[in-house]
């Protein structure tokens, strides 16, 4: 076998011109392929590790309160974080994500801006991350770290360009008007502590505040969390899986408020349950419940329903249209929670809610529940806990509403339209992976991969045409030689193999030189510095340089692919040559 290689290599050198011609074509093709792939992969890396993790997180958890897209809050943040830690192992970072549109006024100049919260010194910001930050936000004046300075009124960092449009300098004040999470119009004075040059245009638009500052300005309390972005180690492999697992962990428990109901000074322990008022739940109320008394308004508009059990009515003497008050202990802080309720109906005994229970329409229930998060949960004993088997059970609301996992970006958009339309009163919790939330980014990656695929196709044809033609010439030229070695006693398959080896070797050498060429080119191209501010594609550059990320695996794969294509292409002409009759071949004169 060894001598087949020797002969093959020597034959390649014998037809030097032809080998160089075909070899260069393959080499250039390979170089383009490796280059395109490294470029695409480099962009993907930037997209996945930088942009996606900032823009949507690899996995994200969003909260929508009251059907209002601007009201992104969950009041028991610690609980969510706990679930994340349990469900998403090795989560790299959990970022609180807030971006809110604002009107900003500088020195006699106004502009629209986005207030973005960040925490340059938060947990999970390791050295590498800090380095990345320093690279992405090049400080020109002041210090980025001063965002945490509490002696300054609302410290803010903005891009040079933004400072120019607002006509402001370091230490100047920018006034902003924005809508807080309650929907109130608010104003604030932001003090510029840092002017920076962002690494891409993408980061030049927002003005950056410490996440704590933004949360305070927007009216988040200390227990509240905004949208959470999770960065994970291996997003492409794990994002979807982790999102699914997190979703499973976020199934809401039944919402209960255990408190003191008082009527005319006397009190009784009761449990408040949320009665969902979507049409399906209301139908369930009608079919599964009987009422011993009901106000006319309740039958007409059950969206304001407050239903008490017959036994509770007996104990308290409450009748429809009577008013009672509820007070209960909160989970956070000393403020007790409370509500004023007007009874609209009394459920007949046997409806499954016999006991000290009040069903409160979801609007009033969640207003109370989220205003002061109750200390009690369904997991501990209380005045009343419903049997999960009762017909009405499905109409009871949870502590929040978990949106089904969206599979596509279309689904996500549909979900948010639905949230806005239905005006669900419970906070809607949605778990997304970058595959749904950042599909535009992923589409870009897909497009880049298509370019690579196109390169492969072009290369395939170069090889196909090149190899077939070259081999045909070679075989014609060497017909007598083939006859000779067949006459001497070389087996047919060995003759075929010698041609395959020859082609394979040429392809291998060419692919290797092509790879070398690609690396040299990459090195050269990555030395170039592009002006990022003017170019919208600047966001795909790293520090103004094209970022190539060749992988050993991909390069090996391409080399193997090319050799493979070459060998497969050579197979039929080679076999044809090997099958020549020795006598015929020997008689061949050119």
């Amino acid at each position: 076998m060894n001598f087949l290689f020797t002969i093959s290599i020597r034959n390649l050198f014998r037809q030097r011109r032809r080998s160089i011609l075909l070899g260069s074509a393959i080499a250039i093709g390979t170089a383009v392929l490796v280059l395109a792939n490294a470029f695409a992969h480099g962009i993907s890396e930037v997209l996945f590790n930088e942009i996606v993790s900032y823009v949507s997180g690899h996995v994200s958890v969003s909260f929508t309160k009251g059907g209002n897209a601007n009201n992104q809050v969950f009041h028991d943040g610690a609980r969510i974080r706990e679930i994340i830690n349990k469900r998403v192992p090795n989560v790299k970072r959990v970022d609180e994500a807030i971006g809110v549109f604002a009107r900003a006024i500088g020195n006699a100049k106004a502009d629209n801006v986005i207030l973005v919260g960040m925490d340059p010194s938060g947990d999970g910001v390791d050295e590498k991350e800090a380095e990345k930050l320093a690279k992405n936000f090049k400080e020109l004046e002041g210090h980025f770290a001063d965002l945490a300075d509490t002696t300054v009124e609302n410290p803010v960092c903005l891009a040079q360009e933004k400072a120019k449009t607002l006509n402001v300098k370091l230490h100047d004040v920018v006034r902003v008007r924005f809508t807080d999470i309650r929907g109130q119009t608010q104003a604030a004075r932001l003090t510029i502590v840092c002017i920076m040059k962002p690494s891409n245009v993408f980061m030049a638009a927002p003005v950056y505040l410490h996440i704590k500052t933004v949360k305070r300005l927007l009216g988040y309390s200390s227990n509240d969390v905004p949208q959470l972005y999770l960065s994970i180690e291996n997003p492409r492999k794990d994002a979807k899986r982790f999102a699914d697992s997190l979703h499973a962990g976020l199934n809401p428990p039944l919402a209960v408020i255990d408190g003191q109901l008082s009527v005319h000074g006397s009190g009784v322990e009761v449990t408040l349950l949320s009665l969902r008022t979507d049409s399906a739940s209301l139908a369930l109320v009608d079919s599964a419940m009987k009422f011993s008394a009901r106000t006319a308004a309740d039958s007409v508009n059950p969206k304001k329903a407050v239903i008490i059990s017959e036994s509770l009515s007996k104990i308290t003497g409450l009748q429809p249209d009577d008013t009672c008050t509820i007070s209960y202990e909160g989970k956070f802080g000393d403020e007790p929670g409370g509500a004023r309720l007007i009874v609209t109906a009394i459920a007949a005994a046997g409806s499954g809610i016999d006991g000290q229970v009040v069903l409160v329409n979801e609007r009033d229930f969640y207003k109370t529940f989220y205003d002061v998060w109750p200390k009690s949960t369904v997991a501990v004993n209380g005045p009343f806990r419903p049997d999960t088997e009762i017909g009405i059970y499905k109409a009871f609301g949870g502590e929040w509403l978990l949106a089904p996992r969206s599979r596509t970006t279309r689904d996500v958009m549909k979900l948010y339209r639905e949230i806005a339309q239905k005006g669900w009163k419970a906070i809607v919790v949605d778990v997304g992976s970058m595959y749904e939330t950042a599909s535009m980014v992923l589409n870009l990656e897909y497009a880049l991969n298509m370019i690579t695929a196109a390169c492969v196709m072009v290369l395939f044809f170069i090889i196909l045409i090149g190899v077939v033609n070259t081999l045909r010439m070679t075989i014609r030229e060497r017909t007598r030689e083939i006859g000779t070695i067949r006459a001497i006693g070389m087996q047919c398959v060995d003759v075929r193999n010698s041609f395959l080896i020859e082609t394979g070797l040429l392809a291998l050498i060419s692919a290797l030189s092509g790879t070398a060429l690609a690396f040299v080119t990459m090195f050269g191209l990555s030395q170039l510095t592009f002006k990022t501010d003017a170019n919208p594609l600047g966001m795909l550059l790293v520090d103004g340089h094209i970022f190539f990320a060749p992988t050993v695996l991909a390069v090996c794969f391409f080399i193997m692919l090319i050799v493979g294509i070459a060998v497969v292409t050579a197979y039929f002409p080679a076999r044809h040559a090997a099958k020549l009759s020795a006598a015929e071949a020997l008689r061949h004169f050119e």
Partner: protein
Amino acid sequence: MDIIDIKGLKKNYALGSTTVHALRGVDLTIAKGDFMSIIGPSGSGKTTLLNVIGCIDNATEGSVKVSGREITKLNDREITSMRLHHIGFIFQTFNLIPVLDTLENVEFPLLLMRKLSKQDIRKRAEKLIEEVGLREYIKHRPAELSGGQRQRVAIARALVTNPDIVLADEPTANLDSVTGEQILNLMKEMNRIENTTFIFSTHDANVLKYARSVVKIRDGLIVKEA
């Protein structure tokens, strides 16, 4: 003992719509150790006969036994192996492998056999090169050798496997008469040393003096055996 036994051998070639009868019924036996010449004018069927004996062309009709084996019934793999192990070829146009030097060309059939060790192959090849008198040219490629030297390499290559028969199709036709004589002398010498059966074809009556036996062929038929 006859190393070759041919009975009623016919060979036809299709040439367009007509059929060329290259051999029209040849009966021939050749004894082991013979140094035989097949003589006949151009187109008489010498090459065809040698090709059939050498297992590189198949018979249309008749039986051909080489070293006691009926070769007309063998498949490609067997017949290739037959050529490798039992037959050596010397061609009119030398047919050396241009990318291999003298030594490698001679080693080539042994490497195909995969029987001997590398050292033994080397030894055997060197011995034969020595015998054909090309010691100094062991590292030369065919292009660097003269016609006579090339044919010597071809002889060494044909003999290196210790074949039963060496077939030489007009071995001297491309050489000047002096060199041709040297080659025939060498072949005769080898025939003597190795006791290998040699069959060579020629259209040149001058070389007949080297042959131990002579077969005359004309129009695909043996006209005289001597």
